[in-house]
Amino acid sequence: MSREPLSVSDLLLCLESSELQELERVRTAINQQLNTDRGGAVLSSLVERYLDSSSSQVLLLLSSIREPHHKVLLEKLNEALTRPGNRVAAITLLGHLVRKQPPWVHHVSQAPVLPTLLRCLKTDGDVVVLVSAVLVLVALLPMIPQAGKQHIYDFFDVFGRLASWSYRNPGQVSAAYLVHLHAGVYSLFHRLYGMFPCNFVSYLRLHYGMKENLDTFQEVVKPMLEHVRIHPELVTGTQDYELDPSRWRCCEVHDIIMECCRLSLDPLEDACCPAPLPHLDLSPAPQDWQPISSSGSSVGKLTLSSSHIQANDVTWSPSSQCGLATPPPEPASPGPAPSLSRCTSISGVKCPSPDSVPVTTPSEGSHQPAGVLQVRSGVSVKEQLEDGRYLSSQVKQQPIRAQDETSLSQVISSDLSSPDIRPPSSSSQLLLRTSTASCDDSSTDPAPSHIDPAPYLPGPAPPYEPLFELALPHAAMLFIRRKTQDALESAAGQQQQVEEERSSMSPLKVLEQMIVHGSDAHERLSRRSSAGSRLDRSHLGGPAPQGEELQRSQLLLVHSQLQYERFKRQQHAIRNRRLLRRVINATALEEQTVAMKAQLGVQDQEIRSLRSSLSEEQRRLNQLQQDGRTQTDRLLEQNQQLLLQQQRHQQDNQQLQSDLEDCHGRLRELEAELQGANRKAKHAEQQLTQLGLKLCSSEQQQQQVFLLDQQLVLLRETNRALSQQLDEAAAPSWTEEAMLRRSAGNDFQRLKDCDVLQKQKLEAASHRIAELESQLARKDKLILELKKLLEETKSHSRAELSASESRCVALRRVSQTLQTEMLHLYSQVHLDTHTGSDTCTHSPALDAGSRNSPSTQDGYKPRPSSSSAVGIINGAVEALSSSSPLSASPIDSPLAVGSFLEQQARRLFGPNSQSQEEEEEEEVPAGSPPLGQEVEEATLLTGSPQLEPPPAPAADLELSIRQRRDELSIMDYNESLPEF
């Protein structure tokens, strides 16, 4: 970074080199640095460079700045604007950038540059600054229409300040500056009025309603108002709506500019008004040029010239005036013809309308020698011819470069051809532009005498004085009235009236005239200076007396104006291109329409032919339908006939069928008859055979009857014989039989009764049996239940018993253990005494038992063991701890002692052992009555242990110990029994 500024400054120095390749290289280098630049150092050095040197190369570089760098650039510009020394250069740079319309131009509205610019416009006193700033502002406004929201009153304040400034001229600057300023204010006025009509008009009303501003209004603003139409927004729009940014959303810059131009009545302001407004376009022309013509003496020719000039003027531009080769300006509206006619009418009436009568009467123009015009009258026919040509060319919408060239050539020729003539006048210049001939004639112009009043009066800028008057028409009018009173006395009264009524002249026009004057003056000056007379220069109103400074600043002003005009022209060119595109589109559409129409015709024809064929087809169809109908009729008829025939056939058929049925019926009857006859025949046959059978049987019966008669007779005979026999023997046996029978009957009766009785008894018995059986069953059940209950109770009690048994067992175990323990303890006690009395005898056992403590058997043993025994007997816990920890020493001994005790017990109580085997443990104390003393001692031992320890004397001790040992041995014996 530290190296870069150096290299940048070097590069910037190189930028001025004249070699093209080198220049290109440097430029790319700087561009690269710009792209990599982060802090904006390169950019700021570039800006500084431009502010110092106004280098065009730097300007070129700066105008190609891209988006992220614009902030730095704008900040830098803002910084420069705040420094008064750099202000002009900064504004120029800003103007260049704005006119270039970079993509980031809309950021200007948010950048601090804009307020700073506005502040400059409000506070600065330098005309150059003001003019260039106001032109920048005017160019900038359509690009940032949304900025109106915040800054609208700043714009209006600027306008108000500049208007009053240009009128009151507090800085006492030269009139030439004021002309520029006026033109700038005029442009601003148009812009503001075009963009924010409601706000602007309300501002004007407010601001110029005040008394102190009234004169400014009269002098400056009112003439401007005369150059605009009424804005339609004034009728439909509101102040708020105007400031709405969405209003501009679909507008481009040139659209806004066009919108502003459309409202202008000044042909210089709106050089490109569309066709629908030809009258408005053209009406200014007489305004502008009437005075010139009126200043002339011959009115008739003046009209001609004025119309001519107006026609030319439509295509005028400052660039063409200054001889710059630029693309052609917008072609003039295609309505010169009406203007011409109007002009002629004007020429007839002399004052077409109070508005259209121009006020401006340039002092020089007013004294413009009539001769010029008169001379020009000679050329007028030719001019008219030229006009016609121009008109035709305009109607064809041809580019008017040729015309420009001619005007250029005219300028050149005028430069060449009028070197030593008196100071140039605007009218003469214009005439020069229109015709070369007039230039030639101007040499004979006697004007110089008239020029005197204006150019020679004020020292500083004599040629511009009258123009200033023009810019301020009211003052100018007074001035003119005063100045030209004498000169115009000869003129007609109506012309005076015209002068009275003329309106203000466009400030642009004034500026233009001033420039023309300036250039003329400069040319002449240069001529003069070349001729060598220095004094003349001052007389001729050249800029020399003011010095280079003034000249330069004027040049700056002209330059900025020129830039502004160029900007306008570019915008117009853009618009033209759009329009051309639209025209091309329209023609294409037209061609398309024509083609479609042709297609339509073809299709029409087709339709027609199709229709004819359709009708033909319809006819044929009709014919076919008729044929079909006739055929159908015929067929129907045939059908009916056939139907009739069918009916007839059916009737015949029915008749035949009924006949057939009759025949069938008859046949059936006959068959029935036949069957009846057959039956009768069969019946008769049967009867015949039956009769034959009956005959046979009757014959047999007759034979039988005969036989039976014979038998009957025989039987009757036997019967008679037998009955005779019977009567002889029957009477005596009857009574015995009856008695027997009765006794049998009685017996039978008796037996029967007996039987009944027996049966009843049986029933009762069986009943009883059943009863008993049920009782038995009940008993059985009861028994079962009882058994179950018993079982249950058994199990119940068995469970309980088992529980108590287990308890018993446990208790037994407990007591066993307790006894074991006791035995163990006794054995210990016994051991103690034993070892005390006869250590020698049992020493081996002891040795075997107490291996752990072999060293101190003799002396030590008795005491600790006895004390331990005592302790245990006492049941005190401390004994355990005091005697030996956990009785470690006698651990092994009990076994040995036990075995020893067992041996002793076996030896002593051998026979007794068997008898006491069965005894229970509980019975042990009770079951040894012979050992009462020992028991006592034992109880004494356990019950009152306190008494025991004292027996220290050896004899008593020995005795008691022996007794105890005996007892113990018995106990031990008893105890040890289960262990066998």
Partner: protein, 294 residues
């Protein structure tokens, strides 16, 4: 006996749809209302269904014979039991085997030894052998399950007695049986264990002699013991099998038998409930009708 749990035909379906223990509590209550309690029915129930915890101790006591089937004599027998306990404790106290600072499990051990006549002499207290260690482990677990010390002692005593009487013969066969089921369920794990030589070193005594006391947390353990008390020692095999299956991945990771044994002796206590549930499922799957499973 098999009809009674089916008294409500829905009970089978409850279990199928996952509602375990819906009907069990009610049917158990009905079972417990019988006056002479039917021990077979109770053991069948305990085999088939998980016991509700509020009746667990009571059922165990009945099944282990601590309480008689007749509910009338419960209080009487209970009194006997209590007195017996107190007698033994007092005797032990008198004999200085125990004092007030002796841990309860050691009291139980001494009591048990006393009752089974293997109480060593006070002077020859040896370091506890394996059998004693098993007893201590079981008693520690039982102490966690049962609050009352008398009940606890009786339960421990009867549990161990019954276990030895009933299953003393089948205990040596259990490792073989485990091997068999493991070969059916996960032969790869069996091969792995066999290959690293861990198979004979598995903690069989922890599993089968102590019935997982000290291995599983009590909440899971009591479900296993339900089955053991109600007459099945096969469940131990399946719990062991399920432990192996659950930690299969970890076990496959070990290559030394010591690591396997060490891990199995200290298995994580988190999801033992799930292990036991799966083990019971497996047990019911392999042994079919749990009525006949021993």
């Amino acid at each position: 006996m098999a009809d009674d749990p089916q008294r409500n035909f829905r009970s089978a379906y409850y279990e199928k749809v996952g509602f375990r223990g819906v009907e069990e509590k009610k049917s158990l209550e009905i079972l417990l209302k019988d006056n002479p309690l039917d021990l077979e029915k109770l053991s069948t129930f305990s085999q088939r269904f998980p016991l509700p915890s509020m009746y667990r101790i009571h059922v165990w006591k009945v099944l282990l014979g601590i309480l008689p089937p007749h509910s009338d004599s419960h209080s009487l027998v209970g009194g006997y039991r209590k007195e017996q306990y107190q007698d033994v404790v007092e005797a032990l106290e008198v004999m200085r085997y125990i004092n007030s600072s002796t841990p309860s499990t050691h009291i139980y051990l001494r009591m048990f030894q006393l009752e089974s006549q293997v109480l060593p002499r006070c002077s020859e207290t040896l370091p506890p052998n394996d059998e004693n260690e098993d007893f201590l482990a079981i008693s520690r677990a039982m102490e966690e399950i049962v609050d009352d010390s008398i009940d606890c002692y009786w339960l421990i005593k009867c549990f161990i007695n019954q276990f030895h009487i009933k299953f003393g013969d089948s205990l040596p066969h259990l490792p073989k049986s485990l091997e068999h089921y493991l070969s059916q369920e996960e032969p790869r794990l069996l091969n792995h264990l066999r290959s690293i030589g861990a198979l004979p070193q598995l903690p069989y005594s922890l599993w089968f002699k102590r019935c997982f006391a000290g291995c599983l947390p009590e909440s899971s353990l009591q479900r296993v013991w339900d089955k053991v008390i109600s007459g099945s020692c096969k469940i131990l095999v399946f719990v062991a099998l399920e432990i192996l299956l659950s930690y299969k991945i970890i076990l496959m990771g070990h290559t030394r038998p010591e690591g396997v044994v060490k891990f199995l002796c200290n298995i994580p206590q988190e999801n033992t409930d799930a292990i036991v549930t799966k083990a019971i499922d497996l047990w019911q799957k392999y042994c079919g009708n749990p009525n006949h499973a021993v």
